[in-house]
Subunit: 337 residues, 6 copies
């Protein structure tokens, strides 16, 4: 377990991360001498991919007594609206304080994983890389990239995010470097000269010239060493279109570079991916930014359903345990914390 995660659990276990009414509740219950065993059930507000449960179990393993009982679905599994995905039976005071953290972890990470899955499914096999670290706070960028990978992305852009998911990070050449070199070909050659051979050479081809022209210039200069080009046309030039991909592919093929791959980025969404596929544009991979990183979290709710052995619930809930045959019992003692 990385240092980051340690720190993260440390934060989650800090009472100042809890909604303050849970802190106050704990004080009151203790003063009243109340600590009943309760069952809490947790469920999402819409369909999606469950993510963050491993992190939550780590948290629970750190706080629950040995005889507590926890049932859950596995990380990365699909879940339905209102389906119970986590059930905890334990003395209330052992975990009540962490409801805020537990729900927050699941909400944010499941939101990212679910949207990533939609993108991946739209791409019908083309690879998807999460490029959106720059659109979220660095405190959670690694969590976001890891969740995107749980959702099906092949990698992320940051070292921390990729590492959290056991992957190598993915990156080409930024516009800034090309601007400093003053020429796309020179910048790509510098990359080729100084980087280890196992890093794929992917040239970014929209900085100074038309993409088709620049792609041919880089391919002529790099020859077999060029692994691919990345098209990132900005909205002011019409974004990357299916026709542009087809034209670049044809021009590369005509010039003798059929092995150079084409990657596409810039405002990519499932709708646009489906359009590339429908129009037969031969895209090898997509970089997806804020569509995944800005995914709306999926609200989760936690409800007490049994208190001191008695089915009980607030209005609108049905008291007692909700049956869900998909849940598996967790052996807390075997979890690494």
């Amino acid at each position: 377990m990385t240092q980051k995660t340690d720190h993260s659990i440390h934060l989650a276990l800090s009472e100042d991360r809890a909604d303050v009414y849970f802190t106050r509740t704990q004080t009151i219950l203790q003063k009243e001498g109340l600590d009943p065993v309760v069952t809490m059930e947790i469920f999402p507000s819409r369909d999606g991919i469950l993510c963050g449960i491993k992190e939550v179990l780590g948290l629970l393993a750190a706080v629950l007594p040995e005889d507590a009982e926890v049932w859950t679905l596995d990380e990365g599994k699909p879940m339905s609206e209102d389906e119970i995905v986590l059930r905890i039976t334990a003395p209330y005071n052992s975990f009540g304080l962490y409801e805020t953290a537990i729900l927050g972890i699941l909400a944010h990470e499941s939101g990212w994983a679910t949207t990533a899955r939609e993108v991946v499914e739209a791409a019908e096999g083309a690879s998807i890389i999460s490029f959106g670290a720059r659109h979220v706070h660095p405190d959670v960028s690694a969590r976001m990239e890891c969740a995107a990978i749980v959702g099906g992305c092949v990698s992320g852009a940051t070292t921390a995010g990729a590492k959290l998911a056991g992957k190598a990070p993915s990156g080409t050449i930024p516009h800034a470097m090309i601007l400093i070199f003053g020429d796309t070909v020179k910048a790509t050659e510098a990359f080729d000269k100084h980087m280890p051979p196992e890093f794929p050479r992917i040239a970014l081809v929209d900085t100074f010239k038309d993409e088709a022209e620049e792609s041919l210039r880089v391919a002529e200069a790099m020859g077999d060493r060029l692994w691919g080009v990345r098209l990132d046309t900005p909205p002011e030039r019409g974004r990357v279109t299916p026709d542009l991909v087809k034209e670049v592919r044809a021009r590369l093929d005509q010039a003798g570079f059929p092995n150079v791959k084409i990657f596409v980025s810039g405002g990519i969404t499932p709708e646009r991916i489906r359009q590339f596929i429908a129009e037969g544009a031969p895209v090898d991979g997509y970089g997806v930014g804020s569509h995944i990183s800005g995914a709306k979290p999926i609200d989760f709710t936690g409800d007490l359903k049994v208190v001191a052995g008695k089915p009980l619930a607030k209005r609108v809930r049905i008291p007692g345990i909700t049956h869900n045959a998909r849940l598996k019992k967790v052996e807390l003692s075997k979890l690494e914390v």
Copy 2:
């Protein structure tokens, strides 16, 4: 500055939080002996409230050389689509690596602050409390609440978030506590017995009974000590409606409790707040959850506009510095890091 912030800057300055192509660029530029002084300009993709700039300046103060020049807008100011809100002139290698972190901080926090502002403006003076910590990862929940307060919320639900913004946290009584006590009146009386007198007594009145009935029960039991009631009717019972607020107000007034305030929560949005106002429902404050905490980040872009004294830019940008009379020069040496 709190321990949290220290840790956060530590993370932001870690190269494994950077998009890996910036890491690689730094290696290449160093090997090529390139480190030109450049000007980078940063701007948002839509109108909003700028937030996170204090955190970004802290980061820059830690890395930029003394003769670097930084211009910016103040935290909490309105900003327009494509308006330059931050301009940095410094050797590229001193800060190029942190572009990911800088953009991410601004994106996420400005997204939250902007949406909070929309809610606050819709409320025309009624107070707004951010209740959405449970819908984001605990690693950023305090940042989210602080940004919501920058946007105009009067407080947040967690101790960490409120503290970051110099406020006291706000909270009533959770459903879980009422379920454990088995009765709303008992739970409220226990709160009253054990909590310091300066905490306002606000009863949550939708757990077991109809809100109007429960409000009167609590008011009868608590008398003058009751500060307010919180209506949180779930969607399955029709959410809190303007008519419900008017009815509870009238029944409390008829029963001799004109001073008991009414707070409303549950799926609150600017549209619904405007409806409460339009129908004349006397709401004293709103708790707003995922509408603010799940706000879409505002994408920011950073562009090199001058390299080694020469105006330069990629296609679609106009080379050279962009005039913005609203920017103020920052004295980096005077910033606390």
Copy 3:
């Protein structure tokens, strides 16, 4: 035949219920010595359920000469837009005056029956009771309820309406009675004490408390004597929802009252019934008010198609008799008047 019907036919046969131009026409034709045998055909302006034809035949039996010929569809049969549903061949002066009454009876009653049928079909077997007498003039409320029963309702709310259709009326306990008793349980027990045992005990459970709480209170008090509960949540509390039905069902079952039935009323429409079914809410019956009672009448038109043996028609009609194999010849002399 009831006193009411007698009076009604008396009214329909009164010349002051006729459009005055028919009265004048009769005078003119008599002065001109004209009274040709004509054929009139009557058809609806849209698809629906034919209702009122029995009443119309009663009227015709009272006025037509013995050798008149009448063809029609049976009461309650489906009819298509522009389909001939009634054909009369007789001297014009024997029935021309009653065109207004004949069309009006068919229009109003077919409108009610048609909408009732739509509701009944949406309910897929759950019983529908017409509750809308309070939304129409008492002069036609019994006619409306009878037409609703022709359309498929199992009963109506008034004694007169139900009687006209050969049914017993249906009713629970009004809000007014519960308010006078001051408590739902007391009111239900009074009903139980004083009403004959064959009247089903159905408690109205939304007056003072939340429906789920009140349902359990009544069930505990009444035990096996409780036949059902009626949920009638007003719009200000979100109407009855599928989730509310499911919750009340579950709480009743958990408390040992699986035989207590659940009836739903309040703004019921086919759309909402379909939603209850789609979401699996176990509703035993619905009370439907203004959706049926306020049904738009179906305009009918009567056209002369043969005059003195000669096919003739106004513009837009095809002169002569329109073939319709579904019509049956009526033996007027055998009708009870």
Copy 4:
């Protein structure tokens, strides 16, 4: 008071016109010895024109004790959604049974009057005649026409309806009569020959020929004795259009008949009237059928707000009397019954 009204009140006072649960309530209250003085307030579910209140007061005068108190708005006044239009304070058992009839009278008649008012206002001074008796049951056709006249129509088509409102009925010549005469001119001349001179001669001109041609034929034949023509073009010939009216007007004027008026009927709605006015078609009057007669009733609700001197109400209502300065106290003893 006419024989009809007598009969109608007789019906309304019959207990078999009441929702059966009111009948049962009365039995139970009597057996329990309960008959508190209560205040009931009645209000509509949407804005409109109040109609039927005179009939309701007649009913109340027949049943309430002398010391009962009744407040109301006048017949024909505008009323707002949820505005109290009738307040009754009396022993419950003296009037509770008639709630069904009271609400039904107000609902149906206010629905007709409100829609009639919309039509009248759209017509900006052109006269509107209610032609829809043929689209409602003859038991209420007179009530409908009277309500339409309360709403602003100048007359109705039936003798009974017009008489109830103190008007003479209005009518031209039906298609049937023209078909029997075989020619529009002959039919119009027969009308002229046999009808009293005070009945206006209005020819219906769409039976056999194009309206413009027929209008000229009738005008040539009738000369100064022709008061007007009625255009009633069926949908299959495109309904009456503004252009048709303008053409007929121009042709009549060119042929020397500038005093012949033009009346329009057939599917008339406020929208179509506004179109005639917008396009400058010189229509002298409109006959309106099912748009008024098929108006949706306006649901009314009656709520107990005070029981035995104590403010009381079901959930969602505010207990106690609702202030409405527009209400006037009724002297029941001075009402004619």
Copy 5:
């Protein structure tokens, strides 16, 4: 080849019909001594029916050298968006000037033919005649009618247009002639008296009287000599409707004229034709005016794809010849010019 076509080609070959930049280009290339053999490919901007290609080949035959190579699709064939429909390989200066004329001929004529085809397909076998010469400039009215016939119309209204397509023109009797005769029957009889027997007698029946009445008058007068009636009801009388056609058909049949055909004109579109068919109206043929004659031209583009043997193209095109197996090589020398 007609005189018209001669003149038309003469115009198309005139340099003052060319976009002036082509004229200037020719001057420049000649002064620079440049005249490379090039390949130009021409394609449409949307799917449609190719029309005008015969005219274009006539033009090319007049200007291309013997060794030029031309590939194309046949006149009247369906073509797809972006499909190459014409490929020319020849010295640029031999044909570059005529790009404007070539594209214009194809654009305008394919637009007409394509829309005509849509109308013809909608009619499912009923005959369509192009009536729209009056809505286009007489300089192209014959071209428009010929293109409409290529698209599937059976004929056109003008002698020149029909002749160009090898057909006889089609026409009935104009309103003007009926107005001069003052009566439809008289005008039709005059037509019958003076026109050769092979011209079908088709009466226009909407001038003075209702169409159904006039159809019967003409049929009675003309007997077996009447071939058909044309319904052309103007918008002010509701256009021809399916019900009108059915009524006229029924009245003609009842009167013993089952062989008289019914033609419909006036604002005919594919949507309206589909409605006639859907409602079972027995229409024998339609006259279609501005829907075909005002069809939007289909933009065509011509691109150089090979210059002096080398694949070359502007941005967005793929250099070199585009494969299209449907193209056929044209033997220019065998074309009649």
Copy 6:
């Protein structure tokens, strides 16, 4: 008058350009000895700019007798739906045959002029050139361009069209010429070398390279001799956008070419022009193609309103002359034919 116009009138006067029923009518009327003086009135089906009237008067001058009377509006004037724009009083046989040609000239040319006017008004002073000759048949391309200039365009692309309107044609450099030269700069320099100095040098800058890059290359090469650049970005590269114009303007200004103008073409419509203006893009002129050339013709109708001195008209028209104070009497004898 040009040879073209002579030929055009010759065509219009040819009887084989007439709808054949007019030809037949003439034969019949002559055989019947009928040739009444009639008044025909002609009006458009929608608002617009009248165009073609000069050409029509030329035609009438060639055929009408001296005592004929003609009233009309001037070429280029606005006209309203259904407004009489041409009134002819003359013996029917002198002009009846030409109704098809007269209506067709007005329809087609007014359609073009009206749409051109909409474009010109949207441009708020920027110049509009008609570029659409390539999208219409060469037989009418000059008429189209002339009508576009009547509507407000400053010029057209063809010599014939511009000449007809008394203008010089307008053109830059086609893609084909740039492809043959293989480079935009070389092609522009060749134009500069060989063309008379009065032709403005306008470089087309989207063929091989990005527009901003190419604009600077051409400006550097041509210096003061460059009058402007034309941006014609194809749809596959996102069309010309306001941002592109602003960027090219800024880069030209920064490089010292503030006098080089910017012209925009490619799919230009009033909507897009309004967007350029709204976003502040400094466009000096637009080339507009198929939006104008493919304008829908405006249908015109001609009606006989007086026959042999007697007001007469078909159904739906008002017989006799329609007053229109805007019409002016034409002195036919003074027209040049």
